[in-house]
C-alpha cells in the first residue's frame, strides 16, 4: 500500500479482525467464590496505582526538570499510561500471566478468557480486576525509566523504546516472578514489585543514561529543578498511591493488606526522616528534595518486603535504604559521572536491590504464612533465592535495554539535536509551552 490512508485502512482491518476473534471467546460467568471486600480493595488499589503514574510520577519528575522541558516530561508518563494500557490488554497481560515457559502464551490476547470469574492467582477477585491491577504496574515501570533520559531523547525513540521494553523486559520478568515462571518456582519473594518494577526500571535507566549520554553542559553547569513544589506534590501522590501498590498486592481485603499498608508507610516515613537528618548533618541544610526523595526511596525498598517482614524490620529496611540511596545519589553518581538525570538508578535500582536482599534477611512466615522465612529466621537459603532474582533482574534489564537502544540507533539517532536540547523539548518536540504567561500576545493566525 502506497498511501497513508491505505496503510491505516489495512491496519484497522487487521485490528478489527483480531478484536472480533477476542470478543467471541465465551465470557465465563461463574461468580462463586468472589469476595466483595477483596474485589473492592483490588479495584481501589488499581486506581491508586494509576494515580501514581498520572499525575504522581509525572509531577514528581516534572518538577525536577527545567521549565522548558516540563511538558515533555509530563508527556512521558501520560502517554505511557495510554500506550502501555493498550499493550497490556492487547498482549502484555497474556505474555506476563498466561501459562508458558520463559514467557506466557497468547491465550489472553485482548483479554480473551479474562472475565468476571475469579482470577487464577486471586480466586476471590474477578480476573478482570486482577489483570487491571497488574496492568497499572506494567504502566508505571517504563514510566520510571524516563527520568534517566529526560530533557534529551527524541519522542519517536521514546515510544518505540518503551513499547519494546515493556514487551521484552517487563512482561518476561513479571512472568518469571509472578506469572508462574522460574523465579517464583525458585522461591524468590517479591511482594509488590521490588525486582519486577524497581530493579528492572532502575538498572535499565542506568544503561539508558550511559548509552544516550549526558545532557549538554552536564556536569559543568547546574540543572536545578524548576518546581520543587510540584515535585513534592508528585512525591506525596506517589506515597498515597503506594498504599494500593503494596496494600493491594495482598490481593485481599484482610490482615495482610493492613500489614503491608503499615510497613509501606513506616518505611517511607523512616527513610524520609533519615535522609533529611543525614543531609542536615552532612550539608548543614535539610532540603525538601532530600526529604521527598528519601520517602520515595523508602517506598521502593519496602516494595518487595511489605507483606513478608515485621513492622520494626520495615523501619530497619528504611534506615538501610536511606544510607544506600543517599550515597548512591550524592556520591556514586557525581563520582562516576553518568547523567541519570532524575536519579532513577540511585533510588529505584539501588533501593530495589537493597529491598530485595533485605527481604531475604527479614522475611518471616509469622507475618505471611504463604511466604518464607529469611536469614534471620533460620533460612539463609532465602537470601540466595533473592540474590538470584536480583541478578536475573539486573541481567535482563541490562541486556534488554542495551539491545533495544542499540537496535533503534541503527535507524535513527536517539537524541534530539543540540539546538533542540537548548531550546527545550516542549517547544521543539511538542510545539507547546507549560507556562503560558503572555504567550498569545503578539501572535497572528496564519
Amino acid at each position: 500500500m502506497k498511501t497513508t490512508v491505505g496503510k491505516v485502512g489495512a491496519f484497522a482491518a487487521a485490528l478489527g479482525a483480531l478484536l472480533l476473534f477476542a470478543a467471541t471467546a465465551r465470557a465465563e460467568d461463574e461468580v462463586v467464590g468472589l469476595s466483595s471486600g477483596d474485589t473492592a480493595w483490588v479495584l481501589a488499589s488499581a486506581a491508586l496505582v494509576m494515580l501514581m503514574t498520572a499525575p504522581g510520577l509525572a509531577l514528581f519528575y516534572g518538577g525536577l526538570v527545567s521549565q522548558r522541558n516540563m511538558l515533555s516530561t509530563l508527556m512521558h508518563s501520560f502517554f505511557l499510561l495510554c500506550l502501555i494500557s493498550v499493550q497490556w490488554v492487547a498482549f502484555g497481560y497474556s505474555l506476563s500471566f498466561a501459562s508458558g515457559g520463559l514467557v506466557g502464551g497468547l491465550d489472553h490476547l485482548f483479554f480473551r478468557g479474562v472475565g468476571q470469574e475469579g482470577a487464577p492467582l486471586a480466586p476471590t477477585v474477578p480476573h478482570l480486576a486482577f489483570a487491571m491491577f497488574q496492568g497499572m504496574f506494567a504502566v508505571i515501570t517504563p514510566a520510571l525509566i524516563t527520568g534517566a533520559f529526560a530533557e534529551r531523547m527524541k519522542f519517536s525513540v521514546f515510544v518505540v523504546f518503551s513499547l519494546l521494553w515493556a514487551t521484552i523486559v517487563y512482561d518476561p520478568l513479571c512472568h518469571w516472578v509472578w506469572g508462574g515462571g522460574w523465579l517464583g518456582a525458585l522461591g524468590t519473594l517479591d511482594f509488590a514489585g521490588g525486582t519486577v518494577v524497581h530493579i528492572s526500571s532502575g538498572v535499565s535507566a542506568l544503561v539508558a543514561a550511559i548509552v544516550i549520554g549526558k545532557r549538554s553542559g552536564y556536569p559543568r553547569r547546574m540543572f536545578p529543578p524548576h518546581s520543587l513544589t510540584l515535585t513534592l506534590v508528585g512525591g506525596s501522590l506517589l506515597w498515597f498511591g503506594w498504599f494500593g501498590f503494596n496494600g493491594g498486592s495482598a490481593l485481599a481485603s484482610n490482615g495482610l493488606a493492613a500489614h503491608a499498608f503499615v510497613t509501606t508507610h513506616i518505611a517511607a516515613a523512616t527513610t524520609g526522616l533519615a535522609w533529611a537528618l543525614i543531609e542536615w548533618a552532612h550539608r548543614r541544610k535539610p532540603t525538601v528534595l532530600g526529604a521527598v526523595t528519601g520517602a520515595v526511596a523508602g517506598l521502593v525498598a519496602i516494595t518487595p518486603a511489605a507483606g513478608f517482614v515485621t513492622v520494626p524490620a520495615a523501619m530497619i529496611i528504611g534506615l538501610g535504604c536511606a544510607v544506600v540511596c543517599y550515597l548512591g545519589v550524592n556520591t556514586l553518581k557525581p563520582r562516576l559521572g553518568y547523567d541519570d538525570s532524575l536519579d532513577v538508578f540511585g533510588v529505584h535500582g539501588l533501593g530495589g536491590t537493597w529491598g530485595a536482599l533485605a527481604t531475604g534477611i527479614f522475611a518471616t512466615t509469622s507475618v505471611n504464612a504463604a511466604g518464607r522465612d529469611g536469614l534471620l529466621y533460620g533460612n539463609p537459603g532465602q537470601l540466595w533465592a533473592q540474590f538470584v532474582g536480583v541478578a536475573a533482574g539486573w541481567g535482563l534489564a541490562i541486556v534488554g535495554t542495551a539491545a533495544i537502544l542499540g537496535a533503534i540507533r541503527l535507524f535513527t539517532p536517539l537524541r534530539v539535536s543540540e539546538e533542540q536540547e537548548v531550546s527545550g523539548l516542549d517547544l521543539t518536540l511538542h510545539g507547546e509551552a507549560a507556562y503560558n504567561v503572555g504567550a498569545g500576545v503578539g501572535t497572528e493566525r496564519i
Binding site: 553547569r221 547546574m222 536545578p224 550524592n330 557525581p334 536519579d343
Partner: protein
C-alpha cells in the same frame, strides 16, 4: 536630558525609589537583573555536587531626568544604596538623544 541608570541590591529598592522621588524624579523603570562585579558569588549544592553561582540577583532602576536634576539624583542613590561592602552596585549616566511623551506628542525637556 540624561538617563540615570543604577544597579543596586534588591532589598534597597524601596529606599532608592523613595530617595529619587524626594529628589524630584517623577518617573522610573524597574528591571530585575543578575550581575556581578567584585562581589564574590556563592555556592549551591544540588544532589551532592557543588556549583559556583556568580550572577547574583540585582535590580536596575532607570530614570530620565532634566540635566539640572542629575547630581541630586545621583547623590540620593549614593546615600541610600551604599552599604560599604562589595556588591553595592553602580550608577551610569548617559546622554539621551530624544524623549517623546506618547500621550501628547511633546518632545525634549517638556516630555521628561
Amino acid at each position: 536630558m540624561k538617563r540615570v541608570e543604577c544597579i543596586v541590591r534588591p532589598h534597597l529598592l524601596d529606599a532608592v525609589k523613595a530617595a529619587l522621588q524626594e529628589a524630584g524624579v517623577t518617573g522610573m523603570t524597574l528591571t530585575e537583573v543578575k550581575g556581578f562585579g567584585r562581589q564574590k558569588g556563592h555556592t549551591e549544592t544540588y544532589r551532592g555536587a557543588e556549583y559556583r553561582v556568580e550572577f547574583l540577583p540585582k535590580v536596575k532602576v532607570e530614570a530620565v531626568v532634566p540635566e539640572e536634576l542629575v547630581d541630586a539624583a545621583v547623590d540620593a542613590i549614593l546615600k541610600v544604596a551604599r552599604t560599604g561592602k562589595f556588591g553595592d552596585g553602580k550608577i551610569f549616566v548617559s546622554a539621551l538623544e530624544e524623549v517623546v511623551r506618547i500621550r501628547t506628542g511633546e518632545r525634549g525637556e517638556a516630555a521628561v
